[in-house]
């Protein structure tokens, strides 16, 4: 039997939305107050959904200790209490939550081999959320 398991994680980080490919004026128009040069921050809520057959002996899709260990080491420790613009993947990539979804998906997809990654969903605030399932890769 195939089931989907979703685990939530939190981290807090700052960022500034700014693209070098646009003029200062264009950046202000496109990103509004998110373009504030000093940056601003969010409490991000990340949902990682994995899927697969429920193991007959353990009753699990994947051992949560393994998933938690991987996500804490490779995702939370990487981003928590950091300025996202200074993290390597956002040197040339605007740290929108869309791009953050893709970055986290790539980290988990590449490094966590224990089960199939279904989806990464991030709430930047209570009012908006973003999802990436690896489509169009």
């Amino acid at each position: 039997m195939k089931a989907h398991l979703t685990r939530r994680y939190m981290f807090s980080a700052s960022h500034r939305l700014h693209s070098d490919e646009m003029s200062e004026d264009q950046n202000r128009i496109v990103y509004g107050k998110c373009n504030n040069p000093y940056g601003h921050g969010h409490n991000y809520m990340v949902e990682i959904t994995v899927s697969g057959p429920v193991d007959g002996t353990t009753g699990m899709v994947c051992n949560l200790v393994d998933l938690d260990g991987f996500v804490h080491q490779h995702v939370i420790d990487r981003y928590d209490h950091q300025n996202l613009n200074l993290v390597q993947e956002f040197h040339e990539n605007v740290p929108t939550t869309e791009n953050l979804c893709i970055a986290i998906y790539e980290i988990v997809e590449r490094g966590f081999g224990k089960t199939h990654l279904e989806k990464v969903r991030i709430e930047e605030t209570m009012m908006n959320s973003f999802e990436y399932s690896g489509e169009g890769r």
Binding site: M1, K2, A3, H4, L5, T6, R7, R8, Y9, T49, V54, T57, T58, G59, M60, V61, N63, L64, V65
Partner: protein
Amino acid sequence: MVYLTRKAEFSASHYYHNPEFTPDENVRIFGKCNNPNGHGHNYTLEVTVKGAVDPKSGFVVDLKQLKDIMNREVLDALDHRFLNKEVPEFLALVPTTENIAIAIWQRLVPKLNSAQLHRVRVYETPDLFVDFYGEA
């Protein structure tokens, strides 16, 4: 096609243990969930059904009927129970959230005649949930 979701809550205790594993393996795989005295959760259940909207009633499903089925088939059996000892499915099956979602699906499917079951979602805690869509 319209999807309708009904929530319910139940509280239950359980522990994770497989007699096929050695005591050491049980501790290594299940960690503190292996405590034989059990521990508990407040589970949140979401049952999603799908179907066409009936032109006369405007309903996908009669909510009262769905609530009664959920109460009778699921909550009466699981709420305030020690899952390993009191619920037949878990006498020989580890009551993980995955297996609870599958068991609830199997309890509901034969009883729902007017609407089609789409998803069973079980939250063990606010930061952990399992979805089961009836996939083999």
